[in-house]
């Protein structure tokens, strides 16, 4: 069959192209453009090539040192909150009721922290932790613990981590709960008949059946925690010193505080690249696991 050639059809793609151009391509290209240049304000720009990138990836320079320091902080933070939230989320999901009105009550209660805006979460904990008027800070100090997130690095970290755990464990728990609910009763009955202990049921049935939702949970929590900005900015402002300055906070400082657009642009591109690479790795792992399952279904 002959197809009519009509180049006007390209116009149909135009709306999408325009939207994507304005929402993604143009801003990104602006950043790429900045990252290659230096400016002293006044809208005057000087070509700098890959200079900012070299500086950024060289820990002996000021920029490089700040980048790597905040990168390790980010990685440490993500590792710690994953190590806490994933097991805790599983435990919470396992201990949630399976039927009756308590299910709805549990789900709503668990969803509450997820519904609170980030900066409000930050404000809540900032006040909660204050030694003079905050319930947590006051109680800790009155039982003899010298707790002050403004001046003590450890306290600042502990506050930021506990805040994140409070805010996001629900997400992991809800995902796991959904995973657990999808396990047919026959599995538990078969395990009973096979004389499996509670632990064996967990390792042989529940954990394997949850592995997909767990991957999603880990992916979401990693990305989110790696991009964390609002809550620590509100609570600690990156301090004391630079101890809780994450990459995003550093980025805002360089871009808006010092107005070093070139450095900030180079930093944000590298930051972006790290997140994309990690997502790609996760995505590949997940689709492979999925393809595995699909193949099995095909056979069955």
């Amino acid at each position: 069959m002959d197809k009519t050639v009509n180049q006007k059809a390209w116009f149909l793609v135009l709306p999408v192209f325009l939207v994507v151009a304005f929402s993604a391509i143009l801003p990104l290209m602006t950043v790429v453009n900045y990252s290659m240049q230096d400016t002293f304000g006044n809208n005057q720009f000087f070509w700098n090539g890959v200079g900012w990138f070299k500086e950024l990836l060289d820990p002996s320079t000021d920029l490089g040192e700040r980048f790597f320091a905040s990168l390790w902080r980010n990685l440490f933070f993500s590792t710690v909150i994953l190590a806490i939230e994933v097991p805790l989320g599983i435990v919470v999901a396992l201990s949630m009721p399976r039927q009756g009105w308590t299910v709805a009550a549990c789900l709503v209660t668990m969803a509450l922290p997820l519904l609170i805006p980030w900066n409000v979460v930050g404000t809540i904990w900032q006040i909660f932790g204050r030694p003079d008027i905050g319930l947590l800070g006051y109680v800790l100090n009155s039982i003899g613990l010298n707790y002050n997130y403004v001046s003590n690095e450890f306290d600042a970290w502990a506050t930021v981590i506990v805040m994140d755990v409070w805010h996001w464990t629900s997400l992991v728990a809800l995902l796991c709960y959904a995973g657990l609910k999808s396990i047919p009763d026959a599995y538990y009955q078969a395990a009973q008949i096979d004389g499996a202990s509670r632990w064996a049921v967990f390792t042989a049935i529940q954990l394997p059946k949850m592995n997909r939702v767990l991957l999603i949970a880990v992916l979401l929590r990693f990305m989110d925690s790696f991009m964390i900005y609002t809550e620590p900015f509100v609570v600690t402002g990156g301090g004391p010193g630079n101890s809780t300055t994450f990459i995003s906070i550093e980025l805002v400082k360089i871009a808006l505080g010092q107005f070093d657009l070139g450095k900030a642009a180079a930093l944000s591109l590298v930051y972006n690249l790290i997140i994309i690479i990690v997502c790609w790795v996760f995505y590949t792992v997940m689709t492979n696991a999925g393809a595995d399952r699909q193949a099995n279904k095909g056979v069955a």
Binding site: A186, Q189, A190, Q192, I193, G195, A196, S197, A204, A295
Partner: protein
């Protein structure tokens, strides 16, 4: 290895024990001998799975007792009863190999490794799973997975009975036959009590030596396939078993005669003193009614259509308002709609309120 006795066993999911009519399983008392192959047959929702789950201990009965070899095991948990169960959908442990799956029940019971391995090897050989022992169980087909589920029951040497809950539902038709013959062979080889729940009469009749037909939470008849076919004790058994099912039509029965639609049919036995308030019906299988050309002495019927099943033809006919099936003798051609029916008196049964009535000779 055990004889299973059900004593006045009943269950209500709502927990309301006051009204037995609302029970999912109405009180039943019966004995299943050691080494028997039993099938629980009935439509969905008839209580057969409930009965199975009561025996395996997944559900605790509202009333009554279950005895294994005379020992009351009603209060015991599933783990403590020596029961194996194969479910409708294959249950396998995803992360384990076939061998580990088979070893799982023994491992959980702390059986020494050497003994465990030997047992797994033996069961794998019986089930033709030996080549797959080292493979991940998730990668196998549904019938192999079902064999693994069964194998997990068989590895335990102390198992009292194996329960099957519609185990062939997800299996391809051509493999169903193979797996069912495998089950029969295992049953002969291992001398185990097997209880098989199904709504498929072919499965039940080919697998079991005793078929227990259930209807609306009640056991309506328990017997060999031949008994169910020849002497259904309840009209439900009549039309549930057999294809097409038994013809059941309202009739007036007096002595050795039954009157349908103004026509008299001779009966082999005498039925005097039938309860007057009861609904009286006669039941006869299509196999024992022949279609013939209309003649004065025959019950007249009008033919609606003929189903040719290959080996045999059945005519769907109408007697007054009642629908009826009858055999079309080989070589018989149908001249028109009108036909007569010839009954075989020895296979005409009389039912009062759906229950078989024994006539006197």
């Amino acid at each position: 290895m055990a004889r299973i006795d059900l004593v006045d066993l009943a269950h209500s999911y709502s927990g309301n024990t006051a009204d037995p009519e609302s029970f999912a399983l109405k009180p039943v008392t019966m004995t299943w001998r050691q080494g028997g192959a039993y099938a629980l047959l009935g439509p969905s929702g008839c209580g057969k799975t409930t009965l199975l789950n009561l025996i395996s201990g997944i559900v605790t009965p509202s009333r009554g007792k279950i005895l294994f070899d005379g020992v009351d095991i009603t209060p015991l948990t599933t783990q403590k009863r020596n029961i194996a169960q194969v479910f409708q959908f294959p249950v396998i442990y995803d992360t384990m190999t076939v061998g580990q799956n088979l070893a799982f029940p023994l491992k959980n019971r702390g059986v020494p490794k050497a003994e465990n391995d030997a047992r797994v090897a033996e069961i794998a050989r019986l089930l033709d799973l030996t080549p797959y022992l080292g493979r991940k169980a998730t990668r196998l087909t549904a019938d192999a997975k079902q064999k693994i589920s069964l194998g997990r029951g068989l590895v335990r040497s102390d198992v009292a009975a194996i329960l099957f809950d519609e185990p062939l539902t997800v299996i391809d038709p051509e493999l169903k036959w193979q797996l069912r013959s495998k089950l029969k062979a295992l049953h002969r080889a291992l001398d185990l009590t097997m209880i098989y729940v199904t709504h498929d009469q072919t499965e039940a009749l080919t697998f079991a030596d005793t078929v227990v037909v259930m209807h609306d939470g009640r056991v309506v008849q328990s017997g060999t396939p031949a008994e169910l076919f020849d002497r259904p004790e309840h009209t439900f058994v009549g039309y549930f078993i057999g294809s097409p099912g038994m013809n059941i039509v309202p009739a007036e029965v007096r002595g050795r005669e039954a009157r349908i639609d103004g026509h008299t049919i001779a009966l082999n036995r005498s039925y005097d003193g039938l309860p007057s308030a009861a609904k009286i019906e006669i039941g006869v299988r299509p196999e024992f009614v022949d279609v013939a050309p209309p003649a004065p002495g025959l019950l007249s019927a009008s033919i609606e259509r003929i189903d040719d099943l290959g080996r045999v033809r059945f005519a769907r006919v109408r007697i007054g308002d009642a629908k009826f099936s009858a055999r079309v003798p080989p070589g018989f051609s149908i001249p028109g709609e009108a036909a007569g029916l010839i009954f075989d008196p020895s296979h005409v049964h009389v039912y009062a309120d759906s229950r078989l009535v024994e006539g006197s000779a």
